[in-house]
Symmetry: none
Subunit: 216 residues, 2 copies
């Protein structure tokens, strides 16, 4: 790995040349585009999923058709698996690849009005901000929401993997998970996992928002 640069053993992948760029990491909920190889996370996830399935390392290796030594090293955080290896493991564990690579990310991510990577336009009086890109295969339904203050609308957790997005149009509202609620002002954007309890509470009369629900 990392032929030219950095340490040989280098966990840290070195090739973060692009690191410099780091444009606000648009991405919204993305996996945080952290620059280092997710070796440790892979290792942890691998072991986690394996124990969850109550399988032995040997058994998983056998099912995946890879050497157990390889799997052992992987779970130890050593090594840098190839795509085929990863794929085989995911099939063996019957999990989507993303489960290994996209660690649970229960954070609420806000893009304030005026924040976010603005996409340059040839016409200066037009601005577009990418709030979140869409993972392929995902389903996204778009709602318009009108809410009045007073009660607080609690939602029970939806199916795992559901993510919700809210862009406040007018008024004010408290939005987010019950543990991490944010006050939104017009133009603000927030996204949060919806497979945990979450809330939408209008703070002003005539509060309106655009609501996007994303089912994986």
């Amino acid at each position: 790995m990392t032929r030219g640069d950095s340490t040989g053993a280098g966990q840290h992948s070195g090739r973060d040349t692009g690191r410099g760029t780091e444009k606000g990491a648009g991405q919204g909920t993305g996996q945080g585009a952290s620059g280092e190889a997710p070796l440790a996370e892979i290792a942890a996830a691998l072991r986690r999923e394996r124990t969850r399935a109550e399988l032995s390392l040997t058994e998983v290796a056998r099912r995946a058709g890879i050497a157990k030594s390889t799997l052992s090293q992987l779970e130890a955080g050593t090594g840098n698996p190839s795509l085929e290896t990863l794929w085989a493991l995911c099939v063996a564990l019957d999990i989507p690849i993303g489960r290994l690579l996209a660690p649970a990310r229960p954070s609420v991510h806000v893009v304030r009005a005026g924040e976010g990577a603005a996409i340059a336009s040839s016409q200066a009086d037009y601005q577009a901000t990418l709030l979140t890109a869409c993972p392929p295969g995902a389903r996204r339904d778009v709602f318009r929401i009108t809410a009045e203050p007073g009660h607080q609308r609690d939602s029970d957790p939806h199916m795992p993997g559901v993510v919700e997005h809210v862009i406040l149009s007018t008024g004010r509202a408290l939005v987010g998970t019950t543990e991490a609620t944010v006050e939104l002002h017009p133009g603000d954007y927030v996204t949060y996992p919806a497979d945990v309890p979450h809330v939408f509470q209008a703070l002003e009369p005539g509060t309106q928002a655009v609501f996007v629900s994303e089912h994986t």
Copy 2:
């Protein structure tokens, strides 16, 4: 993998498996096929995302800190990238890693698309209106838009099948195809095909809208 031993799967020597490319199959079931080699898909996704970002192969390779030869081979469908390589590419392209590895998931989930426009809420002071349901497999990117009146923003046709949605938050705007333009007021929603010339023209200062781009 697909070494000598193995049980069942993966006879092909792996690498050229994908030659077929473009298996329409995938989609719904995700990786259910347990078939090998998301190679072709990686290759396609890689090139797709790269062109989407309007970057050259050389540039992406440079940002990722990998040899352009490697990237070239990857986009050609040859090779079996390591995790570090994949990760570096994802960082360089500023996309979540799952975007490359696609297939969503296994769970059979019911699609209740297009059911009922207005969704009743248990709390009367909360209203949600379903503007549009999402066709499975579609990709939707969500933008926030700020526009000032004056010029008219014309857009050239995008790729076939692209559909755009606009929900106006504040102000007024003319939106739609060049042949059928509509004036939007706050709360209004419009959708139109974007594979023909279309337009977004703010009519009031500080016009804001939520913009959803849908690639099939």
